[in-house]
């Protein structure tokens, strides 16, 4: 902290004012929508002012439905292409409900991008394991696409994906393409399936012992419910992956996205600024305590 004697609040305030208002959003227009599953929709948005939004894989925006409210939503689009802003949204509340119901032409307000990214390129020269469950595939998709743009720079790449039922599997066509054409081992499992389901039933953690990777030379990117991420981190540690090489994307209540509102604090961390992507090394002592 600046010592009290040196502190010049007027300078700091002037600097802050010049930096602009992080709470003021930009209007975006819904261009296309796609119903991914029963409760999940992908929105493609274009900025009304025409200036595209640059982001890193893993970052999120604060997405606002006028008169309803604002929620943090991870970007699910391709970070290597300048184009439409893409969000894959699950209908779980009033704001997300309004967002998935937004028809083409609807104006939404966007702030961001905010937060830390996956930094998947740290895995170049080694193996990369993506592990995800449920809607967690959406925040990982930009990292997968970033990797695929330079597939030859990575060794073995695996995507382990758990969904509730076969009907809840996201991006099914893309999963097949990644597996068949792009050299990714894609393993999918569901919590339970109908009689007609010919695939695997079980927990995504059970896939971890089944795939080949070099634990000392692997970056593992994990995104899903906290319980799932903890179980995956434990299984990865069990295979010898260092805690510092395991990255998780944390979810917390967020009202500002820029470290001001205080809602997303996890002990000393502001998840919106220090995260959402953090190493298991950093998170392990915090995730194992109830209601922290």
């Amino acid at each position: 902290m600046t010592s009290l004697a040196e502190h010049d609040h007027a300078d700091a305030a002037a600097h802050a004012l010049a930096a602009g208002d992080a709470m003021l959003p930009r209007p975006y227009r819904v261009v296309r929508t796609r119903q991914d599953t029963r409760d999940t929709v992908t929105l493609q948005l274009e900025p009304v002012d025409g200036v595209p939004l640059k982001f890193s894989a893993g970052q999120f925006t604060m997405l606002h439905a006028f008169g309803v409210g604002e929620v943090p939503i991870s970007i699910s689009g391709d970070p290597t292409k300048e184009g439409l802003l893409e969000h894959t949204i699950r209908n779980v509340g009033s704001v997300s409900g309004a967002l998935v119901a937004a028809a083409p032409g609807t104006i939404l307000a966007v702030r961001g991008p905010f937060g830390t990214g996956w930094d998947v390129s740290d895995g170049m020269g080694g193996d990369v394991v993506f592990i995800t469950g449920g809607i967690g595939l959406a925040p990982l998709r930009p990292a997968i696409l970033e990797l695929l743009a330079n597939r030859e720079k990575y060794n073995r790449v695996a995507l382990l994906y758990g969904a509730r039922t076969p009907d809840d599997i996201l991006f099914g066509d893309e999963l097949r393409k990644w597996a068949d054409l792009l050299g990714i081992v894609v393993e999918v499992t569901v919590d339970s399936g109908p009689h007609s389901w010919r695939g695997r039933v079980g927990l995504v953690t059970q896939l971890i012992p089944r795939i080949a990777f070099d634990p000392a030379n692997t970056v593992a990117l994990v995104c899903g419910p906290e319980v799932m991420m903890r179980a995956c981190a434990t299984a990865l540690r069990g295979r010898g992956v260092p805690a510092a090489s395991i990255r998780l994307s944390m979810e917390r209540n967020m009202k500002c996205g820029v470290g001001l509102c205080g809602h997303c604090q996890l002990r000393e961390l502001f998840i919106c600024v220090d995260g959402p992507v953090l190493t298991y090394e950093r998170l392990a002592p915090l995730m194992s305590r109830w209601e922290l």
Binding site: R38, D39, R90, N91, V92, G133, G134, I135, G162, A163, R164, D168, T189, D191, S192, G193, P194, H195, W197, R198, G199, R200, V201, G202, L203, T205, Q206, R210, G224, P225, V227, M228, A231
Partner: protein, 153 residues
């Protein structure tokens, strides 16, 4: 094709067992094959077999009048199927069906129990392996119980 004695050390379930023990257990085993959709066993039937899967996929499922058949677990290459042969009343609790053409090694349950009882060291080694798989399944089942991916609305 490999003999059962040659294959058993390659299956993760038997990893670490010594050759004499494997030969002993192989005496209870036969190779089996199931076509897609073929039923291995039905709920309530006499449970007299333990399967280790060599390739393919076996679905453990339960009939429900409202939901139809629900697949609650699967076992694939490297996995195992069937615990009910271990403990009385030796009856299956679920149905098992091959989701795709599947090769497995089938062990006669009574034969395995006999080996375990006559040689407690073999019995302990086998039970340790059974416990490890059961623990893995139980943990996974508990986590699936909380519906962590969440249902909407």
């Amino acid at each position: 094709m490999q003999t059962i004695e040659e294959y058993l050390p390659e299956h993760p379930f038997f990893a670490g067992l010594d050759q004499p023990t494997l030969e002993l257990l192989a005496g209870c085993a036969t190779n089996v094959h199931f076509d897609a959709n073929e039923v291995l066993f039905h709920e309530g039937d006499q449970a007299d077999t333990f399967y280790i899967v060599r390739k393919g996929l076996i679905a453990i499922q339960v009939q429900s009048p409202s939901a139809g058949g629900v697949v609650v677990d699967t076992a694939e290459a490297g996995g195992v199927v069937g615990w009910s042969w271990l403990v009385p009343p030796y009856r299956w609790m679920f149905d098992a069906r091959a989701s795709e053409p599947t090769s497995a090694v089938a062990f006669d349950g009574a034969c395995l129990r006999g080996k375990c009882e006559s040689d407690p060291a073999v019995g302990y080694a086998l039970m340790q392996r059974v416990a490890r798989v059961m623990l893995d399944r139980l943990e996974a089942a508990r986590l699936r119980l909380i519906d962590m991916y969440g249902s909407s609305s």
